[in-house]
């Protein structure tokens, strides 16, 4: 019996013993380290920066969940920086300085080197200022340069809570405002004096706590730039522009000169070239910018067929970050230009894409088909996608022998199906540059019914503003003298007197900036394919609205 008991006991003990074998459960879902963990794994390179993080009180925060980009300076870089701020070691350094230093190396997003552009990173550092990126190439190859200070020696290290880029120098934020930075440069003394005289110095010296208002961009003219235009001192500049004698007044031309050189927002060159025009502090005045042969050129425009040469921004001396923005140096002197409003007789059938087809342009008709809503074959023309895919065709229409086209300016027009439910829902065109001012807007078309019952009533939006009058692509010009017609908003815009050639006044609009404008034609009643748009006239309100008229060969008739 006892033996049997003993046997059971042993079985039980065996069972218990085996059951007790402890299986180690994995508690973590990943073995990826976080930013601080990575630094601790590589004390040879990063022990000092890790100490800075601990002392600044950020190490726990950077070792938790998140999505950061951290520019990590190596030990030698931190050591150099400590010497520079006159601290023997991390413990001796001022804690606020350390905190600012860490904040300037930290971004609240994950940015790989693929998003490094010629200019600022898309998000600011936690310090508040933006970092500027670029590429420097030296004997040891090319590497990314951050803030023109530290070169990236190891990039895109992926850690649990973000990305690390290793840099060989500590980044230091700008300490001065735009005004102070310019004032510190003797090359810009005339420009700075003008800033002071016009009262803009204080504006450019202030760091607004509201980040929406803080940032500004200044395009500064150096003394050399001004000297090239015959201005050798502030007195010369004042003599040339300050016609009221009080540069601080908003109506003074020197005041305007200064306002015209300041843009709202923080715009590095990479941002400047990404937009064709920028609003300046001078109300309703924009500068146009473009990239020509790798140079950033300001205000190079064609007005009425005349090319006005622009000014080049000096890339090397530009992209200077300050506490409240950025400033650039330009190699040419420029000032707001007063331009008299001038009529633009816009031939809509001359667009960039057709100009590339010399076998077709003014020689034959051509269909341009959009294959899908996302497909945008034109630079300056678009339309609301028509539900019936096959109606999304813009035709360059050339017809020297057919009555629809033969009287048109250059015997061509664009033909565009419009109207709900199946055809495109609107047609939008970007005009050539129009000088700011008040204009009457005439839609000039060749009237045509696709079938006898067709209607195509349209309204016109200019820069988003609805024009008071509508027009109808099927309605012909009423009879009457030129004056009678003008009174009811019609004109004969061609040499030929056929009533199908209709100029229709849709309204008066004041363009507030000299720029390329947006015209949108919105069908509101009826639908058809045969809408032939030939021209759009923008004629200053005080000018003759009826003449010139246009011959089929494009010449203008003035009486």
């Amino acid at each position: 019996m006892t033996r049997k008991k003993l046997f059971y006991m042993m079985v039980l003990i065996c069972g218990v013993l085996t059951a007790c074998t402890k299986t180690t459960l994995k508690q973590s879902t990943t073995e990826d380290v976080n930013i601080v963990g990575y630094l601790r794994q590589h004390p040879d390179s990063f022990s000092l920066f890790e100490k800075v993080l601990v002392r600044a009180g950020y190490s726990d925060y950077l070792n938790a969940y998140g999505a950061y980009t951290c520019f990590v300076p190596t030990n030698s870089a931190v050591q150099l920086w400590l010497t520079k701020i006159k601290a023997g070691n991390v413990e001796a350094a001022d804690i606020n300085t350390l905190q600012d230093m860490v904040k300037f190396h930290l971004l609240n997003d994950t940015l790989t080197t693929a998003s490094f552009k010629d200019g600022k990173l898309p998000v600011p550092t936690m310090y508040g200022q933006f970092l500027v990126t670029g590429v420097a190439s030296g004997e040891r190859g090319s590497s990314y340069l951050i803030n023109r200070q530290g070169a990236v020696t190891r990039s895109n290290v992926k850690v649990g809570n973000g990305l690390i880029h290793v840099i060989d120098q500590v980044l230091e934020p700008a300490k001065q405002s735009i005004a102070e930075e310019l004032a510190a440069k003797s090359d810009f003394s005339i420009f700075v004096e003008a800033m002071k005289a016009t009262g803009y110095y204080d504006l450019l010296n202030r760091v607004d706590p509201d980040t929406a208002k803080r940032w500004m961009t200044v395009i500064a003219e150096s003394n050399k730039t001004l000297a090239d235009s015959g201005i050798f001192s502030f007195a010369d500049l004042k003599a040339r522009y300050s016609h009221t004698g009080n540069p601080a007044g908003a109506n003074d031309s020197l005041h305007m000169y200064m306002a015209y050189h300041i843009l709202g927002g923080i715009k590095f060159l990479g941002d400047i070239i990404n937009s064709p025009s920028h609003q300046t502090l001078q109300p309703q005045e924009v500068i146009s910018t473009q990239l020509i042969n790798q140079e950033v050129v300001v205000n190079e425009n064609v007005f009425n067929g005349v090319l006005e040469k622009g000014m080049t921004i000096d890339r090397v001396a530009s992209d200077n970050a300050a506490t409240n923005g950025v400033w650039h140096s330009i190699e040419g002197h420029y000032q707001v230009k007063y331009r008299k409003p001038t009529a633009v007789f816009w031939d809509v059938a001359t667009f960039e894409e057709i100009l590339k087809l010399p076998a077709t342009y003014r020689k034959a008709s051509k269909d341009f088909t959009r294959q899908s809503e996302a497909d945008q074959p034109f630079k300056d023309i678009t339309w609301g996608w028509g539900a019936l895919a096959g109606t999304n065709v813009l035709t360059y229409y050339y017809a020297p022998t057919v009555s629809i086209g033969m009287y048109c300016n250059y015997q061509d027009a664009i033909k565009m199906p419009l109207g709900l439910p199946n055809r495109p829902t609107y047609l939008e065109l970007r005009t050539p540059p129009i000088i700011k001012g008040k204009y009457k807007i005439w839609i000039c078309y060749s009237a045509r019914n696709q079938s006898t019952s067709s209607q195509q009533l349209c309204e016109v939006y200019v820069n988003g503003t609805l024009m008071p009058r509508t027009f109808n692509f099927v309605v012909k010009r009423p009879t009457g003298t030129a004056a009678e017609l003008e009174a009811i908003g019609y004109k004969q815009y061609t040499e030929n007197t056929a009533s199908q050639m209709v100029g229709r006044l849709v309204g008066t609009y004041e363009f507030t900036t000299t720029d390329r404008q947006i015209i949108r034609i919105n069908p509101i009643n009826g639908t058809q394919n045969d809408n032939y748009l030939d021209m759009i006239h923008f004629i200053p309100v005080d000018d003759n609205q009826v003449f010139p008229r246009f011959k089929p060969d494009g010449t203008q008739i003035f009486q």
């Binding site: 010629d118 990126t133 090319s142 294959q371 074959p377």
Partner: protein
């Protein structure tokens, strides 16, 4: 009783042993093993065909088809293409010189798959001589020649794209063959390519007796052509010119005449007399280009400056003269569609349908031989002779004279002109980037301006300055090693530019 037990157990053992036969069998039921293959000449022939098949599409299905890499590697970093609306983020990064080691186009796997097929044939085919008496030495030579030629072609692409890659010359036929391999220097790879192609030239026939087969399989002149291109890359100009002469003197190839439609002959029909080696897609094996170039899913289009600055437009004549390689051949000017692979006529009016997407990928054609020779002899200080070759090409294409005229007295201006002529002639054939790099690297990167000018045209304006800085580092001209390869092959060292 005891005896009975013995009998029963003996019977069971016997029965057991007999039934064990099947499950002790290690051969797979659904495939062939090496010991059963490599027995007959038909099997060798099938293995060689497999090499070509592997270039038409990815075998594993895990990577893209080879022509897609060839196009992206050869065009994306240069100035002839522009991204369409459905371009992949990885492709945008390549355009802007922002290639990361995680970029899927840095994956060389497709090429090594084909190389492995070549290596397998080279290693195992010779033994078939002992197995199949009808398999002759000539047949073996042909198989070896084809495998060597294709392997050389693959390494030539790899060395131009990555600079240094592992030079694997042995097949991976079992898990025992898996091992880490370090990169070989580019000189060693180029020397291997030359040695392989020289051997292949002797092994391969001049022709297979069928014009279409001659364009789809490697012939002696395929090897000579690749060798010419390799010599040109290695800056061995005398050798390059000699290789070109071999092909020219063969009398087997010629330019499509002016009277015929270039587009029709080369890309719509394929296998033209001008073609030397091409990938022959057909209705059963489509190329990957339809979705890449078609308007409603476009990833790549033609760059906007091509008509005005590259081919030229004639605004003077009533019926405008045009370069027959431009509108209606390389591209459709009105909407910048890359026309060579998806067009169906040279009027630019009809497109291929999705199931007709089998335009061949042309590796080399006769025009390439003429222009390679021109480039080589120009470097040998014979610009006048070079200009004659270029003129032949221009006349057959009715090229327009505009911009700087060809100056046949100056070597440097001929160098630039030949590069431009190659741009016109081989638009979208996956050659532009390599042409730019080859001309840029000559004389210790004296021609770096070719690359910078190209970057100025194609790279987003807000990234150009960075790109210029990167291009000055010669390591940036080569792709990074794909991250997966770095993780699995510990002997690989990343290109230092991608630190």
């Amino acid at each position: 009783m005891k005896q009975l037990l013995i009998y029963i157990s003996m019977f069971l053992t016997l029965a057991g042993a007999a039934s064990c036969n099947k499950w002790l069998e290690l051969k797979p039921n659904d495939g062939l093993v090496r010991e059963d293959f490599w027995k007959t000449k038909e099997q060798v022939s099938a293995a060689v065909t497999g090499i070509y098949a592997s270039m038409l599409g990815s075998v594993s299905g895990k990577t893209l088809a080879m022509p897609e890499y060839l196009f992206v590697w050869g065009e994306a970093r240069a100035d002839m293409v522009t991204p369409g609306f459905s371009v992949k983020p990885d492709e945008t990064d390549i355009i802007n010189m922002n290639i990361l080691p995680t970029n899927s186009f840095a994956n060389w796997r497709t090429f090594y798959e084909t190389i492995n097929y070549c290596n397998t044939v080279i290693k195992l085919a010779p033994n078939v001589l002992n197995q199949d008496n009808t398999f002759t030495q000539d047949m073996l030579n042909r198989a070896l020649g084809e495998a060597l030629t294709i392997r050389a072609l693959m390494y030539f692409y790899l060395v131009r794209t990555f600079d240094q890659v592992p030079l694997k010359l042995e097949p991976t036929v079992s898990d025992n063959d898996l091992s880490s391999m370090a990169k070989s220097p580019s000189e060693a790879i180029l020397n291997q390519i030359v040695a392989d192609l020289r051997a292949a030239e002797n092994f391969l026939p001049e022709s297979y007796g069928n014009s279409a087969v001659d364009r789809g399989r490697a012939t002696r002149y395929t090897a000579s052509t690749i060798l010419a291109d390799t010599y040109l890359w290695m800056e061995k100009y005398t050798e390059c010119a000699a290789q070109c002469d071999k092909v020219i003197n063969s009398g087997r190839y010629g330019l499509i005449g002016q009277e015929n439609s270039l587009f029709n002959a080369l890309f719509w029909q394929g296998n033209a007399v001008e073609s030397i080696f091409e990938l022959q897609f057909d209705a059963q094996k489509l190329n990957p280009f339809f979705n890449m170039f078609a308007a409603n899913s476009r990833r790549w289009g033609a760059a906007s400056h091509l008509m005005e600055e590259v081919y030229g437009v004639d605004a003077v004549n009533t019926i405008p003269l045009k370069d027959s390689r431009g509108d209606g051949m390389a591209l459709r000017a009105e909407d910048a569609t890359i026309w060579k692979y998806i067009g169906a006529n040279d009027a630019g009016t009809a497109l291929r349908t999705a199931d007709q997407s089998y335009a061949h990928w042309i590796f080399y054609r006769y025009a390439d031989i003429l222009l390679m020779k021109a480039e080589a002899i120009n470097q040998l200080d014979q610009p006048l002779e070079a200009s004659r070759l270029v003129k032949t090409i221009r006349e057959r294409a009715t090229a327009l004279d505009f911009g700087d005229a060809m100056d046949s007295t100056s070597k440097s201006s001929m160098e630039e002109f030949i590069l431009q002529e190659r741009e016109r002639e081989f638009a979208f054939e996956g050659k532009r980037w390599y042409d730019l790099v080859r001309n840029a690297k000559r004389n210790n990167y004296a021609g770096i301006r070719y690359l910078l000018n190209s970057a100025a045209k194609s790279i987003a304006p807000d990234m150009q300055q960075s790109a210029f800085g990167k291009l000055r580092d010669r390591n940036s001209l080569f792709m990074p090693i794909f991250l997966y390869e770095l993780q699995t092959n510990k002997l690989l060292v990343q290109n230092p530019f991608y630190k």
